[in-house]
């Protein structure tokens, strides 16, 4: 009925338009135009008045508190024990709940309980297991963490928990049972149960099973007591089971509950403990990651059924969590939908911790129960043009800024300050701009005889190059100013970073301003290093080799820029571009001289950056497995690293970190590169946007003014109709000469002259 009235309205409107403008001469033409327009309206399923022809969402989800966002590449793994990718975590962290989380507002970053009643109790133990005092913690052989769970945490409704009598309803499915089933949400019966301590322990056990390919297993084996032995035992037992049964890891359940881990104990449904070797304060940060999210054994067993695997219904595609949202649709090539978990426990918007200089309206929802929205729809957008335009049309609530749209969105003042362009301001768009806990660096292979080494001359060569590579210029040219030049390995916001302490080997203070040293000073250092004017002892220019995986046409300008930086010193930079596999292989084998790489913080601790320079992690000492790609190995630095690692944040630790940074600056194993800034735009109807790059579970804090969004969408997307009339008019007008031409040709007669020649 509604459709009919819309069509009638469209027809009437179009008729009026045409007669008013005199675009049609005959009733037949008008009828044709009207029919065509009605057809078009029908196809678009809307009338002009509804003004949402270009709305990319079905009417069923366009209303309600639904947040619209995007993702740039399809998530491959949604199994929390496997996934180690920020794209995937942006979904997983809304669904799963590890024991701890980061406080949304507090800076420096602070941990708080998520599914726990309180922060974990920590006991320091001697070798014989007796408890030590806080003062003796540095000598502890073990640290034991005790976790007490909240009692109101429940899993999302899920068929894995559904029972018929005492039996699980869906744990022995046949092909016939699944005739109507295409996704996990198609099952008729679902159930839930309380979160139990054993679910966290089960997650650790899944991590230990080598067949699950957890990326942190080998790291955790160094810390969790008994995990190494447990991993070998269950991996071998599972392997044997698979061989005997001729099954695969996908379709054969393995009962991990039958095997204990020495260092992980369950005391009750709501209390468990983890014992780790030595003192490792950073362990708590790992407990904010999805690797430690609880997994109910029922779900693991449920998903290991061949009939489900054949339909891509696995724990890797269909998560089961206790978080504020559940995955309502998983179509990684098009759309991912999260919906509010009806079983979500009581959690409230934070009432404190907001920095003083922050916008106080961020606390408007303080104390309200989370989550604040009902649904989030994420659409796959591989190309920046459609993404940006849909954001401007109001169909995405927030967007990043690509380099193509940067000038349209942001103005940069002479001082480097960013602000929105008038066009963006007119639309009420706002932006946040935050430095990421990330570093992109330019590394020297310290094992290389030319650029490596620890002698004063070798240090000076690297320091000279560090001055010459002008990262302020790089940031301005290639990043539109979105970044800051790094002064050392630790980014802002991480303990140990001090804005006042600059790298005195590259910068100097002049007229109360810190600025890069001049190229003359770099040349002087180079001469002292034994390369006057960039020349070697035989008079030939120093030639250095830079390995890179950047082979595309877009990279050429950056590579040319690097060449120019070295040319300032008279050094010839030879680019050795290769594919990423070869590049990685060369770096692992220490077969490079110069290279670029980056690191994104796993957790807000200096250890997570300084371990990139720890000698024990050098690729050359670890058969390529180490994370220290520059192969930096300074004994003094290494000793301080071991000390720093065991200490809690405080004066003593700060002093050691600063000492380490100073040693690294002098040795210069990296040109420190830059820390990027993330720039995000969002519409005025999206609320509570606050940058927290380490917390991934922030969707629950977002709020929306849906009415404002709806009004703006209508205002910004009114269809422009005159081109339709113009096209139809052109068609009608062009038919006439064609018909006339044809008729003329048909009426043409051949005249035969007396000589028999046709005219």
């Amino acid at each position: 009925m509604e459709l009919q009235s819309r069509m009638a309205s469209a027809v009437l409107r179009q008729k009026t338009d045409i007669s008013d403008t005199g675009r049609s001469n005959t009733g037949t033409d008008v009828f044709g135009v009207v029919v065509l327009f009605a057809l078009l309206s029908f196809m678009l399923n809307v009338s002009p008045a509804s003004a949402d022809w270009n709305n990319p969402y079905p009417a069923s989800i366009s209303s309600g508190k639904t947040l619209y966002s995007t993702f740039s590449s399809p998530p491959k793994h949604l199994d929390p024990v496997v996934s180690y990718n920020s794209n995937e975590w942006s979904f997983l962290s809304q669904i799963y709940e590890p024991p701890l989380q980061y406080h949304y507002f507090k800076r420096p970053y602070a941990l708080q309980p998520l599914t726990l009643d309180q922060m974990p109790e920590i006991f320091y133990l001697a070798n014989d297991g007796h408890s030590l005092d806080q003062s003796e913690q540095a000598n502890a052989a073990y640290t034991e963490y005790h976790f007490h769970l909240k009692q109101d945490v429940r899993f999302q409704p899920h068929p894995a928990f559904a029972k018929q009598g005492e039996q699980f309803r869906y744990h022995s499915l046949s092909e016939e049972d699944l005739l109507e089933i295409e996704s996990i949400n198609d099952f008729q019966f679902t159930a839930s149960r309380n979160l139990r301590a054993e679910d966290y322990v089960y997650a650790i056990k899944r991590m230990a099973l080598r067949q699950n390919h957890s990326p942190i297993l080998d790291t955790m084996k160094q810390y969790i007591v008994g995990l190494d032995e447990f991993s070998d035992e269950v991996t071998n037992a599972y392997q044997q089971l698979l061989q005997d049964a001729g099954a695969t890891v996908k379709n054969r359940y393995f009962d991990l509950n039958a095997y204990p881990i020495d260092g992980v104990k369950v005391y009750s449904d709501f209390h468990f403990s983890i014992r780790i070797r030595g003192v490792y304060p950073q362990f708590l940060y790992w407990l904010t990651m999805n690797f430690f999210a609880p997994i109910p054994w029922e779900a693991d067993k449920f998903y290991k059924q061949q009939v489900l695997v054949e339909r891509n219904i696995t724990l890797d595609t269909s998560p089961v969590g206790t978080g504020p949202f559940y995955l309502a649709e998983n179509n990684p090539n098009q759309v991912m939908k999260l919906k509010k978990n009806p079983n979500f426990h009581a959690e409230y918007f934070p009432q404190d911790g907001l920095p003083e200089d922050a916008d106080p309206t961020l606390l408007n929802d303080a104390g309200k129960q989370l989550p604040l929205i009902d649904e989030a729809v994420y659409t796959l957008e591989k190309e920046s043009v459609p993404l940006w335009n849909k954001f401007l049309q109001g169909y995405y609530d927030a967007s990043g800024v690509s380099s193509e749209s940067f000038d349209q969105a942001v103005s940069v003042s002479g001082g480097g300050d960013m602000s929105l362009t008038p066009q963006m301001q007119q639309k009420g768009i706002q932006f946040i701009n935050a430095i990421q806990p990330t570093i992109f660096y330019f590394g020297f292979n310290m094992a290389d005889p030319v650029v490596g080494g620890y002698s004063e001359k070798q240090q000076k060569l690297r320091q000279a190059i560090s001055i010459a590579i002008n990262y302020e210029e790089y940031i301005s040219i290639f990043l539109n100013g979105r970044g800051i030049a790094a002064q050392g390995p630790i980014p802002p916001g991480i303990f140990g970073f001090d804005q006042k302490r600059f790298n005195a080997y590259v910068y100097e203070e002049k007229e109360a301003r810190v600025q890069r040293k001049t190229i003359e000073m770099a040349k002087k250092l180079l001469a002292e290093a034994g390369y006057p004017d960039g020349k070697q002892s035989d008079g030939t220019p120093l030639k250095l080799f830079y390995d890179t995986a950047a082979t595309g046409p877009d990279s050429q300008s950056q590579l040319n820029w690097y060449r120019k930086q070295f040319a300032k010193l008279g050094i010839e930079l030879v680019i050795r571009a290769t594919d990423y596999n070869r590049f990685q292989s060369k770096v692992r084998g220490a077969k490079v001289q110069l290279f670029s790489w980056g690191w994104n913080a796993d957790y807000p601790d200096p250890e997570n950056f300084l371990f990139l320079l720890y000698g024990g992690n050098a690729a050359i000492h670890t058969n390529g497995a180490g994370i220290n790609s520059a192969n930096y190995d300074n004994p003094e630095f290494n000793q301080l690293f071991q000390q720093m690692k065991r200490l809690p944040n405080g004066e003593e630790r700060l002093k050691i970190v600063q000492q380490m940074v100073e040693i690294a600056r002098k040795d210069s194993p990296w040109v420190w590169g830059f820390h990027p800034k993330a720039l995000a735009l969002y519409h005025s109807w999206l609320q509570n946007v606050w940058p927290n790059p380490l917390a991934n579970n922030t969707l629950k804090y977002r709020n929306l003014d849906v009415q404002q969004r709806s009004d703006k969408q209508l205002e910004w997307n009114k269809p422009v109709l005159w081109p339709i009339g113009l096209v139809l008019l052109l068609l009608v007008v062009s038919v006439y000469p064609l018909v006339r031409g044809y008729e003329k040709r048909q009426q043409a007669k051949i005249r035969v002259s007396k000589k028999g020649v046709a005219h």
Partner: protein, 325 residues
């Protein structure tokens, strides 16, 4: 004809083995199983144990073409190439290296690809033939010259330009259709209009020029002169004689394309957010997912061979003089 089809199918077997051989050789020349494991595991620190377990689970620990540790025929059969090729010939595509069922993924993604490719193909064919007929009807006139110039212009401009221009004009400025996206069913029509229109338009230049030349060739034949001499008007001549006889080269030329339509279009699907098969192979190559690459190359080859067989069959249908033996 049955014997002919059976023979063609048998010919296809060595071709497919050859295609497989080249696929395996090229892929593993560029990516070692260790590289693939690192790419799939995605860990910041990938240990040798992790890599070994990953390879063992997927069979990448086996030698590629020859197993020197085995004896007798097992030297050839107990290899990655033979094991995987046998599965492919049985159309068992198994799992991608990332762990998803490939056949389920293909089934899910082929429909959006077809939703774009099929209407684009049919409308493009009809439009190009109609315009070519019109041009032939007015051959030698300003319309003919102008259309040919337009056709050459359309051919000369990159398809990417039409996509971006179409999105800017029809969605950004005039707000007629969504700029990108996809919905299955009737609600999805509004998402398909723009990519189909652009697809049809971008292909018009080539189509018009090709079909025009076919029709013009027919126009100069004796039977057309006879038809005119009988007093048939020009439209009847065009539709009854020129079109019917011109369809033979056209149909045989397009039949070969039909089976490959479901493979989708990479650029079109990327820009319009269509979750089709267009980017499936490219994404897999980038992700070093050999499971998908080998399956898609194999399917592509099978479809191409199928297209050629269909073309041969279509000759016999449209031209009774042709007999397959």
């Amino acid at each position: 004809m049955f014997a002919y089809i059976v023979r063609r199918v048998l010919y296809a077997v060595p071709i497919l083995i050859g295609v497989n051989f080249i696929t395996f050789a090229l892929f593993f020349m560029v990516n070692t199983p260790d590289d693939m494991a690192r790419a799939q595991l995605g860990a910041k620190q990938t240990t040798p144990e992790m890599i070994a377990a990953w390879k063992q689970e997927r069979g990448y620990d086996k030698p590629l073409f020859v197993n020197l540790e085995a004896e007798g025929v097992a030297q050839i059969t107990d290899t990655l190439f033979t094991q995987e090729s046998i599965k492919l010939f049985k159309f068992e595509f198994g799992q991608s290296d990332a762990g998803r069922q490939i056949s389920a993924d293909i089934y899910e993604r082929m429909w959006p690809s077809l939703a774009i490719a099929l209407p684009t193909f049919i409308l493009g064919l009809l439009t190009a033939i109609s315009v070519a007929l019109l041009v032939v009807l007015f051959r030698g006139t300003v319309l003919d010259t102008a259309t040919m110039m337009l056709a050459v212009t359309i051919m000369s401009i990159s398809g990417l330009f039409y996509i971006i221009a179409g999105q800017v004009l029809f969605s950004k400025l005039w707000h007629w259709v969504p700029i990108s996206g996809y919905q299955p069913g009737i609600e999805g029509i509004k998402f398909l209009i723009l990519p189909i229109l652009i697809g049809v338009f971008a292909g018009l230049g080539t189509g018009i020029r090709w079909y025009r030349s076919i029709f013009l060739e027919e126009m100069n034949k004796d039977y057309i002169r006879t038809a005119r001499a009988k007093g048939l008007d020009e439209i009847k001549v065009l539709f009854r004689h020129v079109l019917r006889n011109g369809m033979l080269p056209i149909l045989t030329g397009v039949v070969v394309v039909i089976p490959t339509l479901f493979m989708g279009s990479l650029i079109m699907e990327s820009f319009f957010g269509i979750p089709g098969l267009g980017s499936y192979t490219i994404d897999a190559i980038n992700a070093q997912d050999f499971g998908i690459v080998k399956a898609m190359v194999f399917i592509g080859s099978v479809l191409y061979i199928l297209g050629l067989v269909l073309t041969d069959i279509s000759y016999t249908i449209f031209d009774p003089r042709v007999k397959l033996s």
